[in-house]
Symmetry: C2
Amino acid sequence: MLTKSDIESTVYGPVEVELQRVIASLIAVADREDAENIESDIVLQERLEHILAAPGKRVRPAITLLTSKLWGKSPSESQVTMAAAVELLHIATLVHDDMVDSADLRRGRATPSNLWGGRTAVLLGDYLFAAAAMFVCDTNNVRVIKRFAETIMELAKGELTELIGEGNSLSSRDAYFKRIYNKTGSLFTTAAESGAILAGASDADEARMHDYGYSLGMAYQVMDDVLDFTSTSEELGKPACNDLRQGILTLPSIMLIERSPEDNPVTRLLNGSPDDKEIHLEQAVAQMRDTGIFDECIVVADDYVRRSLESLQDFDDSEAKSSLHTLASFASNRLH
Amino acid sequence: MLTKSDIESTVYGPVEVELQRVIASLIAVADREDAENIESDIVLQERLEHILAAPGKRVRPAITLLTSKLWGKSPSESQVTMAAAVELLHIATLVHDDMVDSADLRRGRATPSNLWGGRTAVLLGDYLFAAAAMFVCDTNNVRVIKRFAETIMELAKGELTELIGEGNSLSSRDAYFKRIYNKTGSLFTTAAESGAILAGASDADEARMHDYGYSLGMAYQVMDDVLDFTSTSEELGKPACNDLRQGILTLPSIMLIERSPEDNPVTRLLNGSPDDKEIHLEQAVAQMRDTGIFDECIVVADDYVRRSLESLQDFDDSEAKSSLHTLASFASNRLH
């Protein structure tokens, strides 16, 4: 059986050099600020550096770079820039999301809103959104730029509908899938599709990579929502069961409501006293486990993984294709 | 002497029809959301409508439209779209700024953060930033798109350095002018310059309109900072003396510190007890008035106005040129 490190070297190996360039160009965003001895500029530079130098999984830029390599050539300057834009947009989103969710920790590190307050986090996020847009403009490709702007809109919409729907037990599967598309599927789609567009791919190949990114993103978010219930706080680097505790209904909670709409721990948690929250939460997780809800969610994720793998079929075999294959195969497998 | 309404009809008259199209396309951003009976989508649509239908001065889109008309032709589809993008970006900025400044009112209306909380305001602002970016992409002009992304970055930087510098009495004129360029000058510059770029103007004419927008924006912000001290809360539609009360040093405060660096009401306010804030504030305003600081600020604004008018000189006479002239002439005159 493959270890985590085997998987990582298969996935990231073929684009390791380019990923290092992506990371270097992210950190250079902070240096670009010409501080000129104005104190507030120096503070700004330090805070940007702190955010941009944080370690991350780099899944999204790896997708752009691997897609770029599907046609045999090394990623071009534009494709590397695009990969950086995708990662920077992801980072900007995290800064705002953590502020909105009042999250103190991410991957075990203090969040910007925790370190410097919500107001600063809002503006740092804005700055990083704009920096991401500057990167994507450097591709000089209006189609890619447009798709990027649309993605920012979808990301904001995903978070907005999540926030507006908080504590509402009427959330349906349809609304859930729409929401996770906005929240995660959209940027994964853009990561893969933009690599193809910038490679000058045919319409059919572009559509295939669109589907690859879409399905992978959906699988990824469904699994994230399962892991939020099944992992420990240590494994997550943030409090476990965070979604439901905040009143956000993800697939496991929606399935639990579907099974016993009249009375279930999720509805009791949403309508009950805050004092009983932890009891309801424990009961919800136990019931999800006992009624096989987590397994059912993995079936949903597996189905997305299957679609994602299908969209790779028609490409010639290559190291990049095999990396994209491995990446998708393990998306629904992160529990084990 | 011209009344306020004479000035408005001179400035807005030649582009009234196009401004109506701009306003209609702003409101259409909310309608674009296909609500599909999902409750959170309907709520999102309503909140966007509330923000986008709010009345505004529309100075920025008017600048883009008037610049577009300098060469005799009616504004093109792209130029009208650009004017909408500029106004939408301004609106997005206000949503975040009011959240960051904890402002309850703007032009006498409750702010989004006041109505729906800071978290929702952050995400609504993000959504509107992205919608503005979508508009600018519709111009299909990469240079304009890049300048727009840079403007978003500068806007965020202006607010960030203001926030970071809060309560710091070492703020210099240099830092102040840099900050108000980011905060206001940048978007005014983009408003004028993009109209010229999309008109296919010569490099020299583009540079002239760049200077026009820059100087007008700077004059505008210097005057805004004076008006914050000299107007009543009713006139402003928000609390008077808001900047200094929040510890933000604008030109009048910086001049007061320059005159008596050792001891002055501004430094006393920043270092003193919150209980004495209103007393120090009153003393600061009285001292600014008595030592002619407001007049000196108007001289600074007048100088920017002069540069702004100079940049119009070489254009052929037209209704649009005369509107831009009137707009700039009255920028430093808003006290009277």
